[in-house]
């Protein structure tokens, strides 16, 4: 019995980590943290950098908040969470300035604005203030990775549509420079996708795709359920008929 419980716990830990990737993806499902998702995804690499920073801030703030959640009075909960998050943001702001100056310049004011990223405060409020440090760390890591995946997806689409290539090593200090794919085509040079309009449209397209998939899934599930109910009804009717026949046979 104890072994079974352990297994269940292990499973829920993995679920804690992976739920943020697709099922509860912060951007495509909950629409949290849309401002950076639109603003820093004009190239894939800035999106990746922002994703990494958010993972660091989210995981560490989740751990700290879950550790001191019992010390914070109920009335000043949100301001204290914000101060904790702001402290971590200030730390990574300084680290980014020291080790990745290009990324620091590219992100601009969106680096300090991680403080008001709804995703981070949302996880602090919804998860870290109710769960233990390990679960909160896993939750923060998973949600952060989901956020990063979404940013990479959006950034990739925008950069390919705008330039026909995906450059790396420009903003992050990777040590090597180059481009991932390189399509030389006049079709793939739509400047509009670097600009703000392209950001809105690309996110709209991806959201529509996610919505189409989830719609199809729910329809499938509803169909399966309907079929199951029909079958049960049919079985019940069959049983009733048999019983009635039996009774009829007994009386005659």
């Amino acid at each position: 019995m104890a072994k079974k419980g352990n297994k269940k716990k292990e499973l829920s830990r993995i679920a804690n980590l992976t739920k943020g990737f697709f099922k509860e993806n912060p951007i495509f499902v909950f629409l949290l943290g849309m401002c950076p998702a639109l603003a820093v995804t004009s190239s894939m690499e800035t999106g990746l950098g922002m994703g990494i920073l958010v993972i660091v801030v989210l995981t560490s703030s989740n751990i700290v908040i879950s550790l001191i959640k019992n010390l914070i009075p109920e009335q000043v909960r949100v301001p204290s969470f914000i101060v904790i998050i702001a402290t971590f943001v200030t730390i990574i702001e300084m680290l980014t300035q020291a080790f990745a100056l290009d990324l620091y310049n590219a992100l601009g004011i969106f680096l300090p604005l991680i403080v008001v990223n709804c995703l981070i405060l949302g996880r602090a409020e919804a998860f870290a203030s109710k769960n233990g440090p390990v679960a909160s760390a896993l939750d923060g890591l998973g949600m952060g990775i989901g956020f990063m995946l979404a940013l990479i997806l959006i950034g990739f689409t925008r950069e390919v549509l705008a330039t026909g290539a995906v450059a790396y090593g420009v903003y992050l200090p990777l040590g090597i420079e180059g481009s991932l794919i390189n399509i030389d085509s006049y079709v793939l040079s739509m400047d509009v996708f670097v600009g703000p309009a392209g950001g809105f449209i690309v996110i709209g397209l991806w959201l529509a795709m996610f919505q189409a998939f989830s719609n199809r899934n729910t329809r499938k599930k509803a169909d399966a359920r309907k079929r199951w109910i029909e079958e049960k009804k049919h079985q019940a009717a069959e049983r009733k008929r048999k019983k009635a026949m039996k009774e009829a046979g007994e009386t005659s």
């Binding site: 629409l31 949290l32 301001p79 919505q211």
Partner: protein, 201 residues
Amino acid sequence: MSITVFFVAIISSMLINNVILMRFLGICPFLGVSKKTESAVGMSVAVMFVMVIASIVTYLLYYYVLEPNNITYISTIAFILVIASLVQLVEMFIKKVSKKLYKSLGIYLPLITTNCAILGVVELNIASGYPTDYGVLQGLFVASTAAFGTALGFGLIIFAFSSIRERLDSANVPEAWKGVPISLVIAGIMALAFLGLGGIV
């Protein structure tokens, strides 16, 4: 300093560098409370309140407290604290002064703390470096004018967008595009339209 400085500040922060469509700040309330025109107007009035007061307070805080003491690196923490407490104060003030106003704005006020438009405008005010152009005290007037213009731009877009969304409710939209996806594409088209205002000032 002539009056044109203020005029330019308002036009450029309201239309050319529109806070939602060009700078991507405040997208959450833009998508969240734009389903009805009424709530959109309430939200933008509350944002205007907090944005102007917050930019005045943080400007003074930065140039009279943080910079002389060489502690500008804690500016983000200081600013977010100022905004959070300001929101609380404004909420209490409105509650005391007008019950009616409180009822219509009350639910939006707590949301403003995490509205990135407020912190974004505050940070942009500091990053613009107004004191080098106009002097510290006159820079304050330009900064607050820019904040006012930004809030006007926020209100304009969120109002226009909510009107479009109300029309959209009765439109025949494909199932996959219903709700947020089609709204985002509409916002993209609005952003394209606003690109045309680029050369005004």
